[in-house]
């Protein structure tokens, strides 16, 4: 691949990761924790109503995981396109 195409492909993959991961970010906090919280509260995990749990703790835990996944994906991507720091 020519350099230009390679750069474009790297950037496009990065943007795809971001869109997917921020989609999950929006889903767990705004949808599960706020908009659908009352519906989800009818289900319980342990002593937690589900919507309440997402709002109280679940989103925060998933946020940490989302960043971890992004870091892992990007470290691989950097190497794949040979743009990693040396």
């Amino acid at each position: 691949m020519a350099t230009k195409e390679k750069q474009a492909a790297y950037w496009k993959e990065n943007l795809t990761y971001i869109v997917v991961l921020l989609g999950i970010w929006f889903l767990v906090s705004y949808v599960f924790g706020i908009l659908m919280a009352d519906t989800l509260d009818k289900t319980k995990i342990g002593g937690f109503p589900l919507g309440f749990w997402f709002a109280n703790q679940g989103s925060e835990v998933i946020f940490v995981l989302l960043i971890a996944v992004y870091v892992w994906l990007m470290n691989r991507l950097d190497v794949k396109y040979d743009v990693h720091e040396q």
Partner: protein, 600 residues
């Protein structure tokens, strides 16, 4: 040993530690002073970011707010953590690649405009001062509550400490001190939470404990039957006429949504947080550092709702329906410091909770003829405030008690109480120092070095940076001692302003090469003006109209930054479309931000 002695010892030791670190990590160059020479390990930077981020409000007040708000209080939990996802994916790695010192500097270079830079400097300084005044006040309050010194003396001691390590070490000194402060504050927060969790449920992890069933010991303490802790809490709340703890109710869904969004985006736009990602050695490190930061923050932020639920249950259960003589000792102790009060409004001699605030304004106790505190028929202190006729609530409990009285409720030894004091101070001091550095670098680097006197040498600039940091400490201390009446009111400003100004134009600056100077300037101005006007109108001009009926689409001033952000984006994009494209050099610079290493 008594609590006071323990507190002096532990607070004294922690201060000695901070000063020791400052001497060890003196800054020798401007690079040291502004970005710690970009030599901070991502994990340590994560810890420092955690301490930088978690303020006196997070440490002392947040659990109390949640305890009273129930599920709606989650907007603080999600709002103050979700921004790190945005930072990790949309900001940190690219700004680290840019590789310079300050946020205004990026804005100025990306938008090829000295005036954009000056606007950014003004925003950064305003946001930071708003925030730092509250921190210095927080230091004073912790001192007065735990060490029995006047608030102002407390502010002065706090100023002296921050002055010493911020002017000496700059970012380098601040970072290593913040790492120590994180360790102090997280220990102080977790120990009481773990013990209360064990006491009530037998589960040693508070995050899981509040979803568990009450243990036999817990049932004895609360005088209730078996069952899930949250079910018990819901039932008690409903019996007393509150809405159930685990369901919303105090705010509309759209308002909770918008406030959460404004807090998240505001977090990602706060200069003192963004600047922390300039200090890692690599771009890879900047990404992972955001993850570490959020992990360290989440440890406290997932514990806070547990503390809130434990405390809410414990507070109501141990007070409701009791006579004053039967009331727990913590109630009487905190009554003495003006954080709890009771008035027997229905004359049955028993303490009763009910929906609504018992009275408006700050609690005041009445004095008798001789000037001593007046004592009522049951032995309680007589409240001077006029009680709200719309509510039958008899009990006033300051929300800060939730964290402050935790060790006492769990019957932990005196040194744990002292540790909580040191933790509160660590939280306030670390945030104050981070903010002061933003102010200092904005003045010495963005104004003096780049606008006023371009021929300033590196050595002179370092002197200026120290002078600016010192001056900022003094001004912040002044606001701490003479808090302007609006400080509490303008906290909404800091987030709303950051959300509606910096965030959109930095994002566009990175992800859209076509974003122009004109677009950024007009976008930023439109976003800030709209947000500021809305907040000023409802908070200062017409506070009587500050309710859902008069708000735009039911969005409170706290959440309006979200709309300001959208306005900023729309204006910036539309104006950019109709103005001349940025110079090729700028577009190339934006292109190079996207790759950790430029491909030849």
């Amino acid at each position: 040993m008594n609590i006071l002695t323990w507190t002096w010892i532990i607070v004294g030791l922690s201060f000695a530690l901070y000063i020791g670190i400052a001497i060890w990590s003196r800054a020798k160059t401007t690079g040291d002073f502004y970005v710690a020479a970009k030599q901070i390990h991502p994990v340590l930077n994560g810890m420092a970011t955690g301490a930088d981020w978690m303020s006196a409000a997070s440490f002392i007040s947040m659990a109390g707010l949640i305890a009273w708000m129930g599920r709606d209080g989650s907007m603080y939990l999600m709002g103050w953590t979700g921004g790190y996802v945005l930072l990790a994916m949309l900001l940190a790695p690219y700004l680290r690649k840019y590789g310079k010192f300050t946020v205004p500097m990026f804005v100025g270079e990306r938008y090829y405009s000295q005036s954009a830079r000056v606007v950014a400097v003004v925003c950064a300084i305003f946001v930071s001062f708003t925030y730092v005044a509250g921190q210095m006040r927080g230091v004073g309050v912790v001192f007065s509550r735990f060490l029995e010194v006047p608030i102002n003396t407390g502010v002065l001691i706090g100023m002296a400490i921050v002055f010493f390590y911020a002017t000496m070490g700059g970012m380098k000194g601040i970072t290593y001190t913040q790492v120590a402060q994180y360790c102090v504050l997280i220990t102080a927060y977790m120990i009481p939470a773990i013990f209360i969790s064990i006491m009530l449920t037998g589960v040693p992890i508070p995050q899981l404990g509040y979803g568990a069933s009450l243990s036999e010991g817990g049932q004895q303490i609360l005088g209730s039957g078996p069952g899930h802790l949250l079910d018990k809490l819901n039932q008690i709340q409903v019996d007393l006429g509150f809405s159930a703890y685990t369901s919303g109710g105090s705010k509309s869904t759209i308002d909770v949504f918008m406030i959460t969004l404004a807090l998240m985006v505001g977090t990602a736009g706060l200069p003192h947080i963004i600047i922390r990602f300039f200090t890692t050695p690599t771009i890879r490190g900047a990404r992972s550092s955001a993850g570490w930061a959020l992990l360290f923050i989440a440890i406290l932020y997932t514990t806070a709702p547990a503390v809130a639920a434990f405390a809410r249950l414990n507070l109501i259960q141990s007070v409701e329906g009791k006579t004053y003589a039967e009331a727990p000792s913590w109630f009487k102790n905190w009554e003495k410091t003006g954080l709890a009060a009771w008035k027997d409004r229905n004359g049955d001699g028993k303490m009763q909770f009910a929906k609504g605030e018992p009275f408006k304004g700050k609690l005041e106790f009445a004095k008798d003829a001789s000037g001593a505190v007046a004592i009522g028929p049951s032995g309680e202190r007589v409240v001077k405030n006029e009680f709200d006729a719309k509510s039958t609530n008899e009990v006033y409990i300051d929300r800060d008690i939730v964290v402050l009285a935790n060790p006492e409720i769990a019957k932990l030894p005196n040194w744990v109480v002292a540790l909580v004091a040191a933790g509160g101070l660590a939280a306030a001091l670390s945030t104050a120092a981070g903010l002061l550095l933003v102010i200092a670098s904005a003045i010495s680097h963005d104004l003096i070095k780049n606008v006023i006197a371009k021929d300033t040498t590196e050595k002179a600039e370092l002197v200026w940076a120290r002078v600016a940091a010192g001056a900022a400490v003094i001004i912040a201390g002044y606001f701490g001692i003479y808090p302007p009446g609006f400080v509490a009111q303008v906290v909404a400003f800091a987030f709303g302003l950051a959300a509606s100004s910096f965030f959109p134009i930095i994002i566009l600056g990175i992800f859209w090469k076509r974003a122009t100077k004109e677009g950024a300037m007009l976008g930023m101005t439109a976003g800030i003006l709209f947000t500021a006007a809305y907040i000023i109108y409802f908070k200062f001009v017409n506070p009587d109209l500050n309710n859902a009926k008069h708000w735009l689409w039911g969005i409170s001033p706290e959440g309006i930054g979200s709309i300001g952000m959208v306005i900023n984006f729309v204006v910036a994009v539309v104006v950019s479309k109709f103005t001349k494209a940025p110079p090729q050099a700028v577009q190339d610079m934006v292109g190079s931000l996207r790759f950790p290493r430029t491909i030849e």
